[in-house]
């Protein structure tokens, strides 16, 4: 009675689903592996000290990506510098000050909308809003990226603020502290986790961004210091990759940049997981 096995129909469903699942997982895994290996194999041989340390020259017809590396660094710094106060402030308003539920709903919906807008639209609006007024320059690109990364910083900060126990706030209020004092002494220290996580995620996003920068930051390869750099047009690594691959057919350089970006992506993902684990552990203590 009990040793009847599954009916044929049920058994074939089992087997079919198992096969489909394993195929899908296998495909996803091999895809990641292929991309990683292919890009590194094609790219690493092309990475030379000369490539990393010089700027492109029409005279020697040699390509160097130092300006692009520096531009990327400048734009990351500028964006984070601007987006942090805005995103953290917005998060603090939402968790600490906002009392109107409808308002919170509207702000959160706006943040979700922002994170759903494709970068090409940001690029266009950034061009209209910033580049048409201040010229095509890294700063215009950074300002565009600020809007793009606002929801990320806001969300991660909000999440870390939610883990600050209500009793801390009550304790501080109970001692007669004013709202601002409570925010400064109890709430702000609590958002460090979120700010760090948000920064890592944003750096990843800025590194990978290209469509939003093409028409805002431009694609020049001039070697500048940070102040002049931000005021001048410049390509980040991703934009440079695009230009070298699509417009100039310099696939060696493109792959070298791709390999660098790939390594950075792996690194950022690794650090992000590490940091998240560390914070989760600290919170549970």
């Amino acid at each position: 009675m009990l040793n009847r096995s599954l009916s044929k129909k049920r058994k074939s469903f089992e087997v079919l689903m198992k096969i489909l699942m394993l195929l899908s997982v296998g495909l996803t895994a091999s895809l990641v592996l292929f991309l990683l290996v292919y890009v590194l194999v094609q790219g690493i041989p092309n990475i030379t000290w000369e490539l990393l340390s010089t700027k492109p020259s029409y005279l020697t017809e040699k390509i160097g990506i130092l300006p692009d590396i520096l531009n990327t660094v400048y734009i990351v710094i500028a964006t984070l510098f601007l987006v942090l106060p805005l995103g953290v402030g917005a998060a603090i308003y939402l968790t600490e000050y906002a009392s109107n539920k409808k308002m919170v709903g509207i702000i959160e919906y706006a943040a979700e909308t922002l994170s759903g807008i494709p970068s090409i639209i940001y690029g266009l609006v950034g061009m209209l809003l910033f580049s048409n007024n201040m010229g095509t320059c890294l700063m215009a690109g950074a300002l565009t990226l600020v809007i793009m990364n606002l929801p990320t910083i806001m969300r991660t900060t909000q999440e870390s603020l939610k883990t600050v126990p209500q009793s801390y706030r009550e304790g501080a209020f109970g001692l007669g502290a004013g709202k601002w004092r409570v925010v400064r002494t109890v709430v702000l220290p609590g958002c460090v986790d979120g700010v760090i996580t948000g920064c890592i995620l944003s750096v990843g996003r800025i590194l990978g961004e290209s469509a939003a920068l093409l028409f805002t930051a431009g694609f020049a390869h001039a070697l500048n210091g940070i102040i002049d750099g931000l005021a001048a047009p410049g390509a980040t690594l991703t934009v440079a990759l695009y230009v070298y691959a699509k417009e100039q057919g310099e696939f060696g350089v493109a792959f070298a940049i791709a390999a660098i970006l790939m390594v950075l992506t792996v690194l950022i993902n690794f650090v992000a997981t590490l940091v998240q684990k560390y914070f989760a552990k600290r919170r549970s203590l």
Partner: protein, 251 residues
């Protein structure tokens, strides 16, 4: 009286921790057996061993012999899905699927290969009638089951278990999440179901065991201390520990 389940020298380990020690019990057909004992005594664990739901927990090791109608339930020849069809289960918290009432009850029969609409309709009606909920839901079979009250949900879960035509029902504290009125309805229902099914019920509530069950098994720290007719165990317990427990000295 013949037995539907017979257990010999059964032990169960969660990793290094032994949760059940040398259990021996014979459960008679078409009766209600109550498992009582303080929390963590192993009564729920034992219940879940009978339909092999413990298989799903990693690192569980079971030794000894459990026979259902003279078949060793751990024999490699036994299809666990079939065993679970024969031995239904009702859980502590009502857990209807987030689907319509009809689909909840029809889920089991469909799983076991019944697709004929007329046949399914019949099964659904019979199961809902047996679970004494037909009159309350017959006009809203297509409505989501999560809209029912807690007590109704639990009776729906009983109907869902009955729909695969089991011989036996395992109930893991089926009324602990319910209010007193719903509880007494479930108790009445369980007593009616005894006509057709063998019922094993874990309960925290000793009055419930007295009201409902024919037999009572008292578990303590992973051991089956005493198994007797309910009337006897509550009037003249043989073991000092049983007496202490039912007179409320601990637990």
């Amino acid at each position: 009286m013949s037995n539907i389940i017979s257990v010999k020298d059964m032990c169960l380990w969660y990793g290094e921790h032994q949760a059940l020690k040398n259990i021996n019990i014979e459960i008679p057909k078409k009766s209600i057996t109550a498992f009582i004992g303080p929390s963590g005594c192993g009564k729920s664990t034992f219940l879940k061993t009978l339909n092999r739901m413990n298989d799903l927990i990693p690192n569980v090791k079971i030794t000894g012999d459990i026979r259902y109608e003279d078949t060793d339930i751990f024999s490699p020849k036994v299809d666990v899905n079939h065993l679970r069809k024969e031995i239904g289960m009702v859980f502590q918290k009502p857990n209807p699927f987030p689907m319509s009432i009809y689909d909840n009850v029809a889920y089991g029969p469909r799983t076991h290969g019944i697709t004929n609409k007329i046949q399914l309709d019949e099964i659904v009606e019979f199961a809902l009638r047996d679970a004494a909920i037909w009159n309350e839901v017959k006009d809203r079979l297509k409505k989501n089951a999560l809209g029912l009250s807690g007590g109704q949900q639990q009776r729906l879960c009983i109907a869902r278990a009955l729909a695969v035509q089991p011989k036996m029902l395992l109930m893991d504290e089926p009324t602990s999440a319910l209010d007193p009125i719903s509880t007494s309805r479930i108790e009445e229902l369980v007593m009616e179901l005894k006509e057709k099914y063998t019922i094993v019920m874990v309960t925290h509530n000793m009055q419930q065991a007295v009201r409902v069950s024919d037999y009572t098994a008292f578990f303590l720290l992973g051991e089956l201390v005493e198994f007797e007719k309910t009337d006897n165990i509550f009037s003249q317990p043989q073991d000092k520990r049983t007496e202490d427990y039912i007179t409320g000295r601990f637990g």
